[in-house]
């Protein structure tokens, strides 16, 4: 069990600043996911936490102790890698207990730990095989076994599921989840897959270009993204973004979509602004596909719309339908029993209580 604190961390590779003043506070037992596109710095951050990369500015504190110059082996961490990184010339048994042997742990203790964890991960039958003889899923479990026997205070995961096929990925994801429930150890997990992030994390730190854009619970990040980047990155199909201007029509704040001949005003009175924009300020109006639905009387603030489907894709239990919406193409998710036909207008409504507004210039939530 341990807390982790990253304080004002900066890292440069040559002339590029890869991490800029990163601050992160992880409490004991949390499962924090570093989520972002490739190149955002998440793996570098993980490597620095592990001690595999050096710190340029700032501090890493494990359990309140500054570990900037402490070797990885002395930080009491364990790491699971994307490519599993098993030692090819050793058997599974030797792979798993390698770290314990380096620590000169007693033979009995080694056997005990090995037995316990190999059973937990169901690799006890594989102990005498070599990595080359294992399937991807088995290799990943051996990699986890190697990490588990160290009984570390912090687990680090570097995109461990990226090399697995879709079905296996889901299985292993469940296993990691269950592992966290069982052990309660602090876990730091890096991925670019938002589904993994949403399903595993107690909190997600969304990163882009070396900065943490937003930290919050999965629900917070999903419902109240603090920037266009976060809003767009999370959620599939992607959030719908409409550009336009804010207008204070008397006392009724509203949104005027761009390039509209008609006098279109969408009421924003149901939206709670962090800071109300100025009249005429350029803003972005955002809503998720699932917030378009059949008119529902129980929803308080809605916008009735007549939309014409331009593309219909069946996903099994629902449909993803593309519509034209005030000059933009948007996506909606509709239950499959709704009758839709290309080009045939349908009456729907947009749930205005779930929208997000962003300032166009700064891309931040307002």
């Amino acid at each position: 069990m341990a807390t982790l604190k990253v304080s004002n961390l900066t890292k440069n590779f040559g002339n590029t600043q890869v991490l800029k003043q990163i601050n992160l506070d992880v409490s004991d037992g949390e499962f924090i996911v570093l989520l972002g596109p490739s190149g955002c710095g998440k793996s570098t951050l993980l490597n620095i936490i592990a001690g595999l990369e050096s710190v340029d500015e700032g501090e890493i504190l494990i359990d309140e102790y500054e570990v900037n110059r402490v070797e990885p082996k002395d930080r009491n961490i364990a790491m699971v890698f994307q490519s599993y990184a098993l030692y090819p010339a050793m058997t599974v048994r030797n792979n798993v207990i390698f770290g314990l042997k380096q620590r000169k742990v007693s033979k009995e203790q080694i056997e005990k730990s090995l037995k316990h964890f190999s059973k937990m991960l169901q690799i006890d039958q594989l102990l005498d095989r070599k990595p080359a003889q294992l399937s991807g899923g088995q290799r990943q479990r051996v990699a986890m076994g190697r990490a588990l026997v160290r009984e570390p205070q912090i687990f680090l995961f570097d995109e461990p599921l990226s090399n697995l096929d879709a079905k296996l990925r889901v299985e292993m994801r469940h296993e990691i989840n269950k592992l966290h429930e069982k052990l309660g150890t602090t876990m730091v997990y890096v991925t670019h897959d938002q589904v993994e992030a949403m399903s595993l994390a107690t909190r997600i730190a969304v990163m882009n270009e070396g900065i943490i854009q937003q930290i919050g619970t999965p629900q917070e990040i999903y419902d109240k993204p603090n920037s266009v980047f976060v809003a767009d990155f999370i959620g599939s199909p992607a959030i719908n973004l409409i550009e336009g201007t804010f207008s204070k029509d008397g006392n009724a704040p509203c949104f005027i979509p761009e390039q509209q001949n008609d006098d279109v005003k969408i009421s924003l009175s149901g939206y709670s602004f962090d800071s109300e924009p100025k009249d005429g300020q350029e803003i972005i109006f955002a809503f998720r596909p699932e917030h378009i639905n059949l008119p529902d009387a129980s929803i308080k603030s809605q916008l009735s719309v007549e939309l014409k489907p331009s593309l219909i894709e069946l996903t099994g239990y629902e449909k993803e339908v593309s519509f034209e919406f005030y000059g933009n193409e948007i996506t909606g998710r509709l239950p499959r029993h709704i009758d839709t036909e290309l080009g045939k207008t349908i009456s729907l409504s947009l749930d205005l209580s779930e929208i997000s507004i962003f300032d166009r210039a700064s891309t931040m939530r307002i």
Partner: protein, 301 residues
């Protein structure tokens, strides 16, 4: 489960950084010593060639020339007028080597490319066996063919001639060049050839218009490899030629072995350097292709 021991951490931190710098210095010193080991003969070769025999006798391997004299180089290259008419000098043999190397490299490279292409992009029955037979040709000790080759050259009337050497080097270079091109072409997607065939191109057209234009890297590697090996050859040169048709390595060896009067080490060194310059230059300028040739031939694909 362990927890961090604060005091132990500090001590560990300090001692590890001290150890690290020590090892780093050890690393550089070791690498430096080896560098000296590899450079020493070249260094000695050059400064010896620039000294007078007097200086050589008085000094030792490492003493720098008091006065830099290029006479030895001139003697090694074009001999001395008059008295030393019987001694060997390199110039004619240098040109012999050039006349031998250029055609041999061209022929073996071209056919190597053609063979590699035919073997990888056009499957036919027995193509693996054919390749194996070529491959094994890289490994045979040439002693096993010296005698019949000598006879054959004699029968063809080209023994003791540059043309004979061109034949020999072209033939025995084929195994290597075929290996190089085959390994390279195997990693070129077959789809490219299939697309060309659908477009209506035939065997040779595809070779010249599609494949050769993208073969620059392997052509460079092969040419460098062949050039180096053929230029550096001694066995074939000394077995199949003597006297005027000899290539440069044979001439160098003769020069060093025979000496009418006094041993002239500076001339010997100058000659060795001259004989080595072409391949050394190629190596310095195109080193990475040289290495690719070495590793391509050995890490079989």
């Amino acid at each position: 489960m362990q927890t961090l021991d604060f005091q132990k951490m500090e001590n560990i931190e300090r001692s590890t950084s001290r150890k690290k710098t020590f090892y780093r210095w050890l690393l550089f010193i070791t690498l430096g010593i080896f560098a000296l080991f590899y450079l020493a003969p070249l260094y000695v070769m050059i400064i010896t060639s620039l000294k007078s025999m007097e200086e050589i006798r008085q000094g030792n391997l490492m003493t720098l020339p008091g006065e830099i004299i290029f006479d030895s180089w001139k003697t090694a290259w074009s001999g001395r007028e008059g008295i030393d008419a019987g001694n060997v000098f390199l110039r004619p043999f240098f040109w012999n080597s050039i006349k031998m190397v250029v055609p041999a490299v061209a022929i073996s490279t071209f056919f190597g490319a053609l063979n590699g292409y035919a073997l990888t992009k056009w499957r036919f029955r027995g193509d693996n066996l054919v390749f194996l037979l070529f491959l094994f040709g890289c490994f045979i000790p040439y002693q096993a063919i010296l005698l019949p080759m000598a006879r054959t050259l004699g029968l063809l009337g080209i023994s003791n001639s540059i043309s004979g050497l061109v034949l020999v080097h072209s033939v025995y270079g084929l195994s290597f060049t075929t290996l190089f091109f085959r390994n390279y072409y195997i990693s070129i997607p077959d789809e490219m050839i299939k697309a060309a065939r659908i477009d209506g191109a035939g065997f040779f057209k595809i070779f010249f218009k599609v494949l050769l234009p993208i073969s620059a890297p392997i052509i460079v590697v092969t040419v460098i490899w062949q050039f180096t090996n053929i230029w550096n050859d001694f066995l074939f040169g000394s077995s199949f030629s003597f006297g005027e048709a000899a290539p440069i390595q044979v001439a160098l060896n003769n020069m060093v072995l025979t000496s009418t009067s006094v041993k002239e080490y500076n001339v010997d060194m100058a000659a060795a350097f001259i004989a080595g310059i072409p391949t050394l230059l190629v190596y310095v300028l195109a080193g990475k292709y040289f290495i690719r040739g070495l590793t391509a031939g050995s890490v079989k694909g």
